[in-house]
């Protein structure tokens, strides 16, 4: 289920508001009706993306081991048009194209971390959900350690005094 709670600025494209699976399932019936209406009024309707999804957007790789690798990677990559989802969760067309790219590259023998690095090179750390220690994030890793050490020291002093 892809909730589009985190919608973009209203002026931005439909690309940023993916269809939910429920809506997509309703499309064939809807398409017939739309076609009928189009013929009836011959007025151009605003078209949602009409191209079919990329070949590997919704199709798994034949090799289960490689598919598992691809799935693990896709779950840690951010969908750029629906930013609080991973590309594995999102129905946005661009997420489908990213899944296609991840799967075809893994099928071609590329390492998952190389694909992640390729994307980070283009979109920055933001595209990856995997935490990394960097110039800006190191306090997140160091502060809990310092707190643990401080708590341990206080506890040790107290217990020694109590004895």
């Amino acid at each position: 289920m892809s909730l589009t709670l985190f919608r973009r600025h209203p002026s931005e494209s439909w690309d940023r508001s993916p269809l939910t699976p429920t809506v997509r399932r309703a499309i064939p019936a809807f398409a017939g009706m739309t076609l009928f209406l189009v013929c009836l009024f011959a007025a151009p309707l605003a078209a949602q993306q009409s191209l079919p999804p990329a070949p590997y957007a919704y199709r798994q790789l034949e090799d289960p081991a490689k598919e598992a690798e691809a799935q693990a990677l896709m779950e840690t990559l951010r969908c750029l048009t629906c930013q609080s989802q991973s590309i594995a969760d999102s129905d946005a067309a661009m997420a489908g194209d990213m899944r296609h790219q991840v799967r075809t590259r893994i099928a071609a023998g590329e390492e998952p971390e190389a694909i992640r690095a390729w994307l980070v090179e283009r979109y920055g750390d933001y595209v990856s959900y995997a935490p990394v220690v960097s110039e800006t994030t190191w306090p997140l890793f160091v502060i809990p350690l310092l707190l643990l050490v401080a708590a341990g020291a206080i506890l040790w002093r107290r217990l020694r005094r109590a004895r």
Binding site: Q48, A54, A93, M94, Q101
Partner: protein, 175 residues
């Protein structure tokens, strides 16, 4: 009670203050491309509509700076920016288009209805070039210098106030 016992509470209050302030700030949804300053990746796209030429990296390496407009006929803000692209063209900018996930007939209909400011339009049916240049949606506009290096990225539709900025960036790229 010793005064320094209050330090943790103060730190916590400070943290709450920062968090509360950040919650009131508008969310910045734009994902800037990390490719600005780097050369265009190698690509070759077929034409997106009959009568247009396709786009390849080599088209950007002849010494002339250009605008690269990432758009699609199904994208509503792309309609909104069409007059601004026309203005940029009249002001001497050469605009190369890349149509994302589009059909030739839809592209042709869009151009017939909203004008054609493009010298070339490539068809990027799997968003491959879009991903390769770090673009995260449509429309986006890149300034590419004469050596094929990405110099500037504009995210979202081009409004009237952005036209002089893009012209200036284009001029800078030509120096």
């Amino acid at each position: 009670m010793r005064w320094w016992w209050w330090i943790p509470l103060m730190l916590f209050a400070g943290f709450l203050g920062v968090a509360a302030y950040q919650l009131t700030q508008p969310k910045d949804d734009f994902v800037p491309s990390a490719m600005v300053g780097k050369p265009l990746p190698a690509f070759e796209l077929p034409a997106a509509a009959d009568g247009m030429s396709g786009v390849s990296t080599a088209d950007f390496q002849d010494g002339k700076p250009r605008l690269l407009n990432i758009w699609a006929s199904w994208c509503l803000p792309c309609i909104a920016e069409a007059p601004q692209l026309e203005q940029l063209k009249q002001d001497g900018a050469e605009i190369v288009g890349i149509a994302i996930r589009d059909r030739p007939e839809d592209v042709a209909a869009f151009l017939a209805r909203h004008g054609n400011p493009y010298t070339r339009i490539g068809a990027d049916d799997l968003s491959q070039v879009q991903l390769a240049i770090g673009s995260s949606g449509v429309p986006e506009t890149f300034v590419i210098d004469g050596k094929g290096v990405i110099r500037y990225q504009h995210i979202g539709d081009i409004r009237a106030e952005h036209v002089p900025i893009l012209l200036e960036k284009l001029r800078e790229a030509g120096e």
